[in-house]
């Protein structure tokens, strides 16, 4: 009964590559952020459009918003189900999210101010995104710090 697993540790790591690949993580974060930012941007444009819009334009805005949300959903699914986002990755992803939220809020607010309508909703939605991104950034830093502290406890003062 001297059976052995056919896959070596190295083979196994190679087979796990899709979940560990940086490209998967970058793709996931990019899809999520671009989708959310796009949806907010299009949504604000739609909201702040002065006067009643023709049916076709309404439909175009709706389709484009759904399209952005679909990309955001795909990114979220990749992040939670396919890619492994470790503590350091989470810190980086959270910062990217914060910068993207601030940028989107800035652009959307600028557009709303130039049009002279919808500034309030633009700021409210943007502020919500920035707040969520900020909370995620703080949590990611806290989690990483806690892990590093535990590493120091386990390895002792010499390392």
């Amino acid at each position: 009964m001297n059976e052995e697993p056919r896959l070596s540790a190295q083979d196994m790591i190679e087979r796990l590559e899709p979940a560990l690949s940086p490209m998967t993580r970058i793709r996931a974060v990019a899809a999520l952020l671009a989708g959310l930012a796009g949806a907010v941007f299009v949504g604000t444009l739609w909201w702040s459009e002065p006067g009643p819009l023709p049916g076709r334009t309404q439909l175009a805005f709706a389709v484009f918003t759904v399209f952005c949300l679909a990309w955001a959903g795909y990114g979220g699914w990749l992040l939670t189900r396919r890619a492994a986002l470790f503590a350091t990755d989470r810190v980086i992803a959270a910062w990217i999210g914060l910068v993207a939220s601030l940028t989107t809020t800035g652009i959307v607010t600028a557009v709303a101010v130039r049009r002279g309508t919808g500034t309030g909703p633009a700021l409210a939605v943007g502020g919500l995104f920035v707040a969520v991104a900020l909370v995620l950034t703080v949590r990611a830093h806290a989690r990483r710090a806690a892990l590093l502290r535990r590493v120091r406890e386990l390895t002792g003062p010499e390392e």
């Binding site: 059976e3 697993p5 896959l7 796990l16 492994a84 470790f86 503590a87 892990l147």
Partner: protein, 182 residues
């Protein structure tokens, strides 16, 4: 380096720590899977388990309890493949699995145990019903304590003990049928 330290380093994103963790637990996980399933499925299921481990590792809250968490994932994958067999075993043996039962009998003082050599044990294991086989593999081959077996199988510790007693009895019967004597 302890498992806990390796797990935390892997959670921080160190690939080398993850590779070391995999190298350390590759054979125990495969052994569990192989004892529960046939050789053809063992490699695929093992890969599936490690994929779930990698995806779940960032969310593992108690790095010090890596082994029970790992075997919980392994058990889930194996159970998925064995769903039919589990149901059959439950019906066939009528299972007095309620916690309590023979739980008080203790688990270490079986006379047959000392005489059972590992190779013989492994050869007979595959003939046992799935729940008994599983508990023997976790307790004897993986050296996991009763509490961790209970956690992995999601049953009370008393049920683990009664199941172990029944498993040993069945094992002894099978071994005696094959000519082994304690």
């Amino acid at each position: 380096m302890t498992d806990e330290l390796l797990v935390i380093r892997a959670q921080l994103g160190e690939r080398a720590a993850l590779a070391e963790l995999l190298a350390r637990w590759r054979v125990p996980v495969w052994t569990y899977v192989r004892r529960m399933l046939d050789g053809e499925r063992a490699d695929d299921v093992t890969q599936e388990i490690w994929l779930a481990v990698v995806r779940g590792l960032p969310r593992l809250r108690e790095p010090g309890r890596f082994a029970p968490w790992l075997f919980t994932i392994a058990r889930r994958s194996v159970t998925d493949r064995l769903r039919g067999e589990y149901a059959w075993a439950r019906e066939a043996s009528g299972f007095g699995d309620a916690s309590g039962g023979t739980a008080g009998e203790g688990i270490a003082e079986d006379p047959a145990e000392a005489a059972v050599d590992r190779a013989a044990l492994v050869s007979v294991l595959s003939e046992l019903p799935v729940p008994e086989r599983e508990i023997l593999v976790l307790f004897y081959l993986e050296d996991l304590p009763v509490e961790e077996c209970a956690y992995i199988c999601q049953i009370p510790a008393g049920t683990v003990k009664s199941r172990l007693n029944r498993a040993r009895r069945l094992l002894r019967q099978r071994l005696e049928e094959k000519g082994y004597r304690p």
